[in-house]
Amino acid sequence: MKLSYLPGCTLKTKAKDLDISAVAAMAALGIELEELPRWNCCGTVYSFAQDDLMHQIAPVRNLIRAQEQGGKKLVTVCSFCYNTLKRANILVKNDAEKLKTLNTFMDEEPDYKGNVEVVHLLEVLRDDIGWAQIAKKVKRPLTDLKVAAYYGCTLHRPKEAAIEPPNRRTALPELLETLGATAIIFPEDNTCCGSYQIVANPEIAMNRTRDIVTSAREQGAEIMATSCPLCQSNLRQMQKKLKGKEGFEEMPVIYFTQLMALALGLNPEVCHFEMNAGNLQPLLESKGLLPVGASL
């Protein structure tokens, strides 16, 4: 099966590990993620202003690209792209006048008809493949690995764009359990990592990183799985700053797609672990998930 895929800007640079491991893991599950031929930035944040249609152009243009490719679904992996595209799609599907204005403005493009469905990779895994099918393909189960299922914000809020009903965060833990790991649910699993405040107020990202990692530690996690490249980046960088601070213990952070690639028995090279935080390797080695001394 082929599905249209929008990687987004960050997955081609700072989060290549997310892009490459996602595409490889999905191929192992029999799904080809077909990258849109000419995608653009999604805009990163959905515009909240009622009087601002300008910032819906970028996401809707991507939806037109998906429409051209002919598929019904557009798959995203980056949580930011997912949220922005999903909400822009909801907006234009429910407001014919705004869609008309956007289509008229982009007169060089074919009209967007509103028939594309924006989905996150976790939804494809849960709904199109199913846990039972994935379980059959696990070759290197993540036995004894206690993984915190960290959602962040944008897969769950607002509720109309969520991948699950409110307060039911099961897709990520279920995937982790399917891969053989022990999924750790923790109180701060959908607390904001500080997001873009990393630029203007980095102390906020640092304090939230402390809250999130400490909460996961207290529930017994030894590694944290994320889907969002900004969560990953903030948790990685702020943990470096928190190192040695009283009561703080670092935790490696990994993309759920990297864990999938490992469990599906793919060559660890597709995970690009050299891009993750430095203390990932000893943990994975101790669990027998990586050959000892492998050069990453």
Binding site: G8, C9, T10, T13, K14, A15, C41, G43, T44, V45, S47, F48, A49, Q50, D51, H55, C78, F80, C153, R157, P158, K159, P166, T191, C192, G194, S195, Y196, Q197, I198, V199, A200, N201, E203, I204, N207, R208, D211, P229, L230, S233, N234, Q237
Partner: protein, 132 residues
């Protein structure tokens, strides 16, 4: 006698217009303040900011730190028992300053290391939220 912080109804109307939210629905329960992960770093809590918007105290609202340390995580929006999208109200307050060309972040003043280190989504979303 000179009034301190006179009530500005045009300010209330602007916030309502940009956010699309009925400010009057808020009955000050404080659920948003309890939901906010950045409560410890703020000056005015979301509930307190909302009260000042209801009263039209423009100067108090536009000089508050709260809207600028908001990361649009939508915890307040998700939990409001009155159905107010508080994140949209925060955005409206930010836009009222940004639309007067008052930037909160100055991209040209950011150190080179920060720009090299951060992923695009961090920079673009910061500029989208914090510059005119």
């Amino acid at each position: 006698m000179k009034k301190i912080n006179p009530r500005k109804t045009d300010f209330i109307d602007k916030v309502k217009e940009i956010s699309g939210q009925n400010i009057g629905l808020c009955f000050q329960c404080g659920t948003c303040s309890g939901a906010c992960p950045n409560w410890a770093e703020t000056d005015l809590l979301p509930r307190q900011l909302m009260r000042r918007i209801q009263l039209g105290l423009k100067e108090d609202v536009t000089s508050a730190r709260m809207p600028w340390i908001c990361a649009s995580c939508l915890k307040c929006t998700a939990q409001c028992p009155r159905g107010i999208d508080m994140a949209r109200v925060m955005e409206a307050v930010r836009l009222l300053s940004l639309r007067e060309n008052i930037d909160y972040v100055h991209p040209d003043a950011l150190p080179k290391e920060i720009i090299e280190e951060l992923p695009q989504i961090a920079l673009i979303s910061s500029f989208r939220k914090h510059t005119a």
